[in-house]
């Protein structure tokens, strides 16, 4: 079992899927000879051929639309959008087609495609390269939205996404691509979609997050532990369908909930979780549900990016404010 970074785990899962299923084909900009700007597809064109790891013109709409067409025709396309900031021109395809084909044809046509894209800030990339689009995506009926927070999760969830009979948007936090390694077995085992993962057990407060922010959430949980507060950390992992049961079970146990995400707070994905927790776990709550998110503004350019992202210190402070309620 090799120690892999998250990007290596993505690469491994893609290789495994290409190996296992001839219907799997990758398409995207610079994914062939170049192996992707982050190297997610490094070596795959050489190994599986340029028919299966195929460079496209610079045109996101037709990348998404072609993935829809291939999927309907029975293939398993995995399309890469180079950065999340360039996927907005795919929204029409996701909303009006990918998420609807099964419903509008009463199951006659289906759309088992995957759209992968790097998300989030923290690597000081240029403008429009640090977006967090999950709030928009999770509101689209008929698609699934998944984001891994560890190399092993990336491997297992990406395989699940590719095997899923419905369209999945797979959001890969760039900040985690090379941040840490963990052992990943190339056993072809998928992790379940639609399941949240309890990353750390705790009794006093539930910290809910997904993707890269779980790093700071984990650090915050550690600091809180040192200060005598036992935090449970839940990794949402799949935003749609949302595993409300796991979230509610945790909050019912702890009585407090802080949701942390990087996208702006207003109308973000955290609002749905907060609304559900506040409504369904009302009787268990001893404090209002907290949300610590990106400021309600445009993700700033590199120089202020770190100041925009929720830091461990701010998470600790927000959690402690909730602990003050008794």
């Amino acid at each position: 079992m090799a120690d892999l970074t998250l990007i290596e785990a993505v690469n491994l899962a893609l290789a495994r899927a290409l190996e296992d299923d001839p219907d799997v084909v990758l398409i995207g900009q610079d994914i062939g000879v170049n192996g992707g700007v982050f190297r997610a597809t490094g070596g795959l064109a050489a190994r599986f051929g340029e028919e299966r790891v195929r460079d496209t013109p610079l045109a996101e709409t037709v990348i998404a639309a072609s993935a829809v067409g291939m999927a309907v025709e029975g293939m398993k396309p995995v399309a890469e959008i180079q950065f999340a900031g360039f996927m907005y021109s795919c929204f029409d395809q996701l909303i009006n087609h990918a998420g609807r084909l099964r419903t509008r044809t009463r199951g006659r046509l289906t759309c088992p495609m995957v759209l992968r894209t790097p998300v989030g800030g923290g690597i000081h990339a240029p403008e429009h390269h640090s977006e967090s689009p999950e709030g928009w995506l999770a509101h689209i009926p008929g698609i699934k939205v998944v984001t891994p927070s560890t190399p092993a999760a990336a491997y297992g969830l990406l395989l699940a996404a590719i095997r899923d009979p419905d369209p999945v948007v797979f959001l890969e936090p760039t900040r985690l691509y090379r941040m840490l390694k963990e052992p990943v077995a190339d056993d072809g085992a998928a992790l379940p979609l639609g399941r949240a993962f309890v990353r750390r057990e705790g009794a006093d407060i539930t910290l809910v997050s997904w993707g890269a922010t779980l790093v700071e959430v984990g650090q915050a949980a550690q600091t809180l532990a040192e200060r005598g507060v036992s935090a449970e950390v839940v990794d949402v992992a799949t935003l749609r369908p949302l595993d409300s049961a796991t979230l509610l079970a945790s909050v019912s146990k702890t009585g407090r909930c802080l949701i942390v995400h990087e996208a702006p707070r207003l109308f973000g994905a955290g609002a749905e979780i907060a609304a559900q927790v506040a409504s369904e776990a009302l009787m268990s709550l001893v404090a209002p549900v907290g949300r610590l998110a990106g400021y309600d503004t445009v993700m700033p350019l590199a120089r202020l990016e770190d100041d925009y992202l929720p830091s461990a210190a701010r998470i600790v402070a927000a959690a402690e404010a909730l602990m003050a309620y008794r």
């Binding site: 084909v25 013109p57 037709v62 009463r106 008929g142 009979p165």
Partner: protein, 357 residues
């Protein structure tokens, strides 16, 4: 100053507005035009019936294809059954040729999803309302054919207005560079709702849009079923033999309102419309078939009666179709219902059982 590149767009017409066949295309199969004519006539009868149903509140909205029957039926008639059609919404003639049933078409325009759950042809795409957004599906379908080395073609039909969307251009460009087995058929009926072709683009032809994708573009008289079959047939042949995509422009005219929700008198003259009637496709094909001894007055009368009977039966079946259950709203969203939909499904089932609150 040198010339870096040169291009031209050819125009094809065989059967003129009078039904005269100047110089037939090589190997013209005249008897094959009889079923084409029959389906064109049925399409026209279907259209009239659908408009009548709408006027009496029995359909929601309907886009008539009056005057475009040579284009829609003609293009479908040269496709193979296992080619894939990616239509927009005005290709009733193509649907009928390929075996979509009148009941299915009625259901769709009644606002019933079962109209897209067609029994056949299995691989065809449903009607696509967001203009031009299906062009990229065609490149995907064609890429699948190419990858699997299947001699099948993706046929994407769109309107003159649709060519203004970036989706169309992105798809043609991709099809060009990947040499995909795809044919893009632009039915230029001169209007996009109230916008005439001359305000849609500064182009002299819609076929020339192909040049931006490095792809051949041809133009034909879309009211000439012979020309339609010829140019689309050649494009299909090119695609099938690995030579890549073609953009075909079929010149026709929308003889009636955009849909039943529109009133074309607001924006175009009655004169223009009457002039266009002189070019309509049905009469001229009938004239040819009659002249060639392939169609008689008796055939015509029998066809009219037959079409009416088929339509009566279809309307009766359509009107007798039981409603979908409320639960069908959520049943097809995912292969497996997530928790929230399990709950909502139960609520819908309960509502169905009780009163419709």
């Amino acid at each position: 100053m040198k010339t870096a590149a040169q291009f031209s767009v050819s125009y094809h017409q065989f059967l003129n507005a009078k039904g005269a066949l100047a110089e037939p295309p090589p190997g013209l199969d005249l008897p094959a035009l009889v079923p084409v004519y029959r389906t064109m006539a049925f399409t026209r009868a279907f259209d009239a019936r659908a408009v009548a149903l709408q006027r009496t509140g029995q359909l929601r909205t309907f886009p008539s294809s009056l005057g475009e029957e040579a284009a829609t039926v003609g293009l479908a008639s040269v496709m193979r059954p296992d080619d894939v059609l990616l239509p927009t919404y005005r290709e009733t003639g193509a649907f009928l040729w390929r075996g979509v049933t009148p009941v299915e078409i009625f259901l769709y325009w009644a606002g019933d999803e079962r109209g897209s759950a067609i029994a056949g042809p299995r691989g065809d795409f449903p009607i696509s309302v967001p203009i031009a957004s299906h062009c990229g599906h065609a490149t995907g379908v064609a890429a699948a054919f190419q990858y699997r080395k299947e001699a099948r073609v993706a046929v994407c039909v769109l309107g003159d207005g649709a060519t203004s969307k970036g989706d169309f251009y992105e798809a043609v460009n991709l099809a060009g560079v990947w040499r995909l087995p795809a044919v893009f058929v632009v039915i230029n009926n001169r209007w996009a709702i109230s916008v005439p072709a001359a305000r849609q683009t500064a182009c002299a032809t819609f076929a020339q849009k192909a040049i931006a994708g490095g792809v051949p573009g041809v133009q034909a008289d879309g009211n000439d079923a012979v020309a339609v079959r010829h140019v689309v047939g050649q494009a299909l042949e090119r695609a099938r033999s690995g030579e890549g995509p073609t953009v075909v422009e079929l010149l026709s005219y929308r003889l009636t309102d955009h849909t039943t929700a529109d009133d074309a008198r607001r924006y175009r003259s009655a004169d223009e419309v009457s002039a266009a009637w002189a070019e309509e496709p049905l009469v001229r094909l009938r004239a040819l078939l009659a002249r060639e001894g392939l169609w008689t007055k008796a055939d015509e009368e029998a066809l009219i009666a037959d079409n009416q009977a088929r339509l009566e039966a279809a309307v009766a079946d359509y009107l007798a179709t039981p409603p979908q259950p409320l639960t069908s709203m959520v049943d097809y969203l995912y292969a497996e219902l997530p928790a929230e939909l399990v709950a909502q499904r139960a609520e819908l089932a309960a509502r169905e059982g009780g009163h419709h609150g």
